[in-house]
Subunit: 358 residues, 2 copies
């Protein structure tokens, strides 16, 4: 098969980690008989520098002409909050999510066997294992609601953000969560704040309806404050966790940190039709950019997710994940994950070692 | 001095833990020469059972006639989300906060020396110590914004919640945070989501203005998703953390769990004039209610906060905290915090032991 992949190399270490992921793609292509072709797409701070806008005109169209999008990392202090909105990298991220209809953000938080020591939790807790999938709604809620800013008589300036959700939006993300749970340990934890928010009460009622329909999947409601606690107390209790955009932003980052392996975690943002977008969850780390120090594993594992969720190539996904685990099991580490006493290897060497194991 | 204290004993284990806290109040009164008188106030599930409303008419007035309010715990499965709003305990909590103008929620998250082993984090991290104060805005934001619910043509039902903040609201909570930091390690971390929310951008601009004014206090902005990670990675980096209502709900519970001592943590909710409200952060634990099993320490430490923040009785507050630490150091434990092999003591015995140390 032929697949066309849009590459958003982005800022900081983005180009380096995407470079290694492309090597992995080509290796898999050779081994399994696929052809991957690439189309570079400019987005983020580098786009601001080149054309004055972080989200250049035509970006969505270029991506839509591809089968999937691979993104390295965007952003950096150079394009901070003092810049106008259209020059800021996060504006581009939000726009591309919306324009490609990427309403489901899949954020696996798992402890790879070789990395158990990196887990910040006590050994007893880490040994129970962590393998959860956060499913974050990505194109609705307070991220995309109406903004207000006005002067008041007695309270100074006042601002407002609106959080809205429709049944339709909730149902489609809910279905994704239940479908994913069926392929995993068959448990969905739906996170809301139904004791306070109207949107959460609607969220909960839709989820309850779906829970009846997917009666083979265990279901529970968890309040967002409680979820933030449970992720620290015992993350092994969770399988699929589904929640709205803002809660998902907070909880998926918390869950990632709980694994201790931020440098290793991939993500997928998918919709119903348009190409899915795959990216590491780590940032652009401008301080180590261009020094062959970055860890390419999260981007490489994002390629595995691309195989699984966009191309339905399960064997290819398994091969990439197994290769990563094999290299880690042999003790190879980039600087970010090297235990004291271990000599770290560079970005390129890590990429090559993984390719060799495929 | 004479102090009048409203007692909201509440539901589940509430009455038992408040009972022990009253013993502590009386002991301190005798030792330091104060008189505490009490006024019982009905609120929560027990109020619903008695008068059909979780927040009976006149509650705020009764509390305002007192110098401080001590609350045990409210809520329980009996008064769940299937009940009309006016019968649900959380409605009462939100109403009393608003009616008493309790805009600042102080949530210390600290690891008491004797309890270091309970910390769910790795030993190396726990040993660095955790001693932070979450300052959560408590009467604004999405908790109290306009709610909408309407039928759409193509998206089913749709709901919305509005998050609003004014400069005035932000400034008063910000000042509290900076003032508190001056009495502590002189660092304020302000948490927002300024890369997405208009309210957060206003929040940040007000905080920056205050940071200039309080130039003796170190200041940093932290994005909410990053804060959720940092609390797990290295909570010792924080001193005072200030944030809006919803973020504060999530992060203060996360921070509490990170200490591993939920059963020990107090809280204070204060305004500018009305009586402050003091309560343990744990819930009503209906499963162990009435069995002399509950841990009264969090409620007793809430009394210490009452001394400190409402009555400005620092020596009395220190005496209570020292007594708790002394009892814990001797190895006494209620069931919730007993290490394997330790025979737990009951609610009343714990209360008496603490009184004896005062
Ligand atoms: C950059 C920011 C807008 C973004 C978000 O909050 O969605 C980021 O934190 C993420 O999670 O991808
Ligand atoms: C019961 C609920 C409304 C409340 C809140 O979210 O404020 C609780 O979680 C708390 O933090 O006191």
């Amino acid at each position: 098969m032929n697949y066309k992949i849009a590459l958003i190399r982005g800022d900081g270490i983005g180009p380096e980690v995407v470079g290694e992921a492309v090597k992995v793609l080509d290796t898999v292509g050779k081994k399994f008989g696929h052809t991957f072709t690439y189309e570079d797409v400019l987005l983020g701070g580098c786009a601001t520098d080149a054309v004055g806008k972080s989200y250049p005109d035509g970006t969505a169209e270029k991506c839509k002409a591809c089968d999937a999008v691979l993104l390295g990392a965007v952003g950096g202090p150079k394009w901070g909050s003092d810049k106008p909105a259209e020059q800021r990298p996060e504006t581009a991220l939000l726009a591309i999510r919306k324009d490609l209809g990427l309403y489901a953000n899949l954020r696996p938080a798992s402890l790879r066997p070789a990395m158990a020591d990196a887990c910040p939790l006590k050994k007893e807790t880490a040994e129970k294992g962590i393998d959860l999938m956060m499913v974050r709604e990505l194109t609705g809620g307070i991220y995309f609601g109406q903004r207000e800013k006005y002067q008041t008589e007695d309270r100074g300036m006042e601002c407002a953000d609106r959080m809205a959700y429709s049944e339709k939006e909730i149902e489609r993300i809910g279905r994704r969560a239940f479908e994913l749970a069926r392929l995993r340990r068959k448990k969905v934890s739906s996170v809301d704040k139904a004791n306070v928010l109207e949107t959460s009460r609607l969220w909960r009622s839709v989820m309850h309806r779906l829970a009846e329909e997917y009666s083979d999947v265990a279901y529970e409601d968890v309040l967002v404050d409680n979820c933030a606690m449970q992720l620290v107390r015992d993350p092994s209790q969770f399988d699929v966790v589904v929640t709205e955009n803002m809660f998902g932003d907070i909880l998926s980052d918390e869950a990632s940190m709980v694994t201790g392996s931020i440098g290793l975690l991939p993500s997928a943002s998918i919709g119903d039709t348009a190409p899915g977008l795959y990216e590491p969850i780590h940032g652009s780390a401008p301080d180590i950019a261009g020094q062959d120090k970055a860890n390419p594993i999260a981007t490489i594992l994002s390629v595995a997710m691309m195989f699984r969720y966009s191309f339905h190539l399960a064997a290819e996904a398994d091969a990439v994940e197994a290769a990563v685990d094999a290299v880690l099991a042999e003790g190879w580490r980039t600087a970010d994950i090297a235990e004291p006493g271990v000599t770290p290897i560079g970005t390129r060497q890590m990429g090559e070692l993984i390719c060799k194991k495929i």
